[in-house]
C-alpha cells in the first residue's frame, strides 16, 4: 500500500501542514485502537494454551532448566527482552536463568562468516542445551531459516520449544519441532511485534504464578 493510497487528499494540491498533522493524529489513534483489539483477540485465542505453556516452563525451571532465546532484526531485540525479563525481572518476582543467543556478536559473526547465517542460533543451541532446557524463538514472518533450524536442533536435544510468529505462522505453523506456538494474526509487522510483546509478558506472568 502506498502512502498516496492511504492519504489521497494530501496529494491533491499544495501541502497544508495542518492537514498532514490532522491526518497523522487520526492515524495514531487508529493504530492505538488496532493493537488493543488485536490483544483482545489473542487473549481469547490463547486463553487455554498460554497456561499450558507456562506450566511446561515452570516444570523446566523447577528441574534446573535454563531458557535460551533467539530471533533476527527487531525480533532479536525481543529475544533479548524475553531473556532479560526472566533473568532480571525486578522486585517481587523470581529471577530465572535465561540467555539471549543474539547478544554475543563474536559468536554470531563467527558462525555467519565461517559457516553461514542459517546455523546462527542452531550451533549455539547445540553447544549449550541440555534436555529439559527451554528454547524461545521469535519471527514475525514465521519463515526465518535460522530460527527454524534452531528449533529443530532444540527439539532433537529434548528442549521445551516455544515459538512466536505472525501473519499465518509461515513455516513455523507446520514445524513439528515447535511444541508451543503463538501466532499473531495480523498483516502489520508492527502490530505483530506489539502483540507478541504482550503475549510473552503474559506467559512470563503465568510462569511466575505457576512457580508459586
Amino acid at each position: 500500500m502506498t502512502v498516496e493510497s492511504l492519504y489521497p487528499f494530501l496529494y491533491e494540491g499544495r501541502t497544508d501542514v495542518n492537514a498532514v498533522l490532522a491526518e497523522v493524529s487520526r492515524s495514531t489513534a487508529e493504530k492505538a485502537h488496532e493493537i488493543v483489539a488485536l490483544r483482545e483477540h489473542i487473549a481469547t485465542t490463547y486463553a487455554d494454551r498460554l497456561p499450558v505453556c507456562a506450566a511446561a516452563l515452570a516444570a523446566s525451571f523447577g528441574n534446573g532448566g535454563r531458557l535460551f532465546t533467539f530471533g533476527n532484526g527487531g525480533s532479536s531485540t525481543d529475544a533479548q527482552a524475553v531473556a532479560q525479563l526472566f533473568l532480571d525481572p525486578g522486585p517481587g518476582a523470581r529471577a530465572l536463568p535465561a540467555i539471549a543467543l543474539t547478544t554475543d556478536v563474536a559468536v554470531v559473526t563467527a558462525l555467519a562468516n565461517d559457516v553461514g547465517f542459517e546455523v546462527v542460533f542452531a550451533r549455539q543451541i547445540a553447544a549449550f542445551a541440555r534436555p529439559g532446557d527451554i528454547a524461545v524463538g521469535l519471527s514475525t514472518s514465521g519463515g526465518s531459516a535460522n530460527v527454524l533450524r534452531a528449533f529443530e536442533e532444540a527439539r532433537q536435544r529434548g528442549m521445551v520449544t516455544v515459538g512466536f510468529a505472525g501473519y499465518d505462522g509461515g513455516r513455523m505453523a507446520t514445524a513439528d519441532a515447535i511444541e508451543h506456538l503463538f501466532v499473531i494474526p495480523s498483516s502489520s509487522v508492527h502490530r505483530i511485534q506489539e502483540a507478541q510483546t504482550t503475549t510473552y509478558h503474559v506467559l512470563w506472568e503465568l510462569t511466575q504464578q505457576a512457580l508459586g
Binding site: R26, S27, I35, V36, G74, L85
Partner: protein, 204 residues
C-alpha cells in the same frame, strides 16, 4: 482446561487495555513529535536512541526500524542505539557512574541537528535522565518515553516531547512504548513524503 483456568490470561490481558487506549489521547502530541523529527532528518540529522533495562532492547529495536525499514520502499534514516557497545557502557559505568553512560556517548557522537530519544519503563532512570539532559545541552531535539512517575523528571530535563504511560507495571509500559515508537517511525515518513510540510513549523 476449564474456563476458570483461563481466568488469569483474561485478567492479564484486561489489565493492559486502559494504557493501550490512552495512547490515542496523545495522538496530536505524537503527530507533533513526528513533524519535529522529520524536520531534523530533513536537515541531515540522525536519531540517537538509548534506554536502560528492558528499554535497552527497545533502543536497538527503534534504531533498526529507521535504518532497515520493514516496509519495502520506505526511505532509510540514520539511527544509532547507544546500548550496543558493551565495552563503552561498562567502561563509563564503572569509571564515571551510570548517569554518564549515555551522556558521555552523546557528547562525542551527537551533532546539533540530531534527535535524541530516551526510554525508561520504571520511572526516573538516572542513566536515561543523564542522557536527556546532555542531549538538551547539545541542542538536540529530545524525546522521552517514560512510565510510572517518570514524566516529571523527564520534563525537568527540558525534553520537548515527553510521553508517559501511566502504569506501575513496567511490562505494560513497555508494550505501549513499542506501539508509540512504531507509530513515530511510520508517521515521520508521512511528513517526509510531503516536503512542503517540512518547511514550516507548527503553531504551538
Amino acid at each position: 482446561m476449564t474456563a476458570l483456568d483461563a481466568g488469569p490470561v483474561r485478567s492479564a490481558f484486561a489489565r493492559r487495555v486502559p494504557a493501550g487506549e490512552a495512547l490515542a489521547d496523545d495522538a496530536e502530541a505524537v503527530a507533533r513529535a513526528c513533524h519535529d523529527m522529520a524536520r531534523r532528518f530533513a536537515a541531515g540529522g540522525k536519531l540517537i536512541v538509548f534506554g536502560s533495562g528492558s528499554a535497552a532492547t527497545d533502543a536497538q529495536h527503534l534504531a533498526v526500524e529507521f535504518v532497515h525499514p520493514v516496509i519495502v520502499g520506505k526511505r532509510a534514516f540514520p539511527a544509532i542505539s547507544l546500548t550496543g557497545d558493551v565495552a563503552t557502557l561498562t567502561g563509563v559505568a564503572s569509571r564515571e557512574g551510570v548517569h554518564e553512560v549515555f551522556a558521555r556517548q552523546l557528547r562525542l557522537l551527537a551533532d546539533p541537528d540530531d534527535i535524541a530519544l530516551g526510554l525508561c519503563t520504571v520511572g526516573a532512570c538516572p542513566m536515561v535522565l543523564g542522557g536527556l539532559r546532555a542531549a538538551r545541552d547539545l541542542g538536540l531535539l529530545t524525546l522521552a518515553l517514560m512510565g510510572g512517575d517518570g514524566g516529571a523528571a523527564a520534563r525537568a530535563t527540558g525534553a520537548e516531547h515527553v510521553f508517559v504511560v501511566h502504569s506501575d507495571d513496567p511490562r505494560v509500559v513497555k508494550e505501549v512504548h513499542v506501539t508509540t515508537y512504531h507509530v513515530l517511525w511510520e508517521l515521520v515518513h508521512v511528513f517526509f513524503e510531503h516536503p512542503g510540510a517540512l518547511d514550516v513549523g507548527l503553531p504551538a
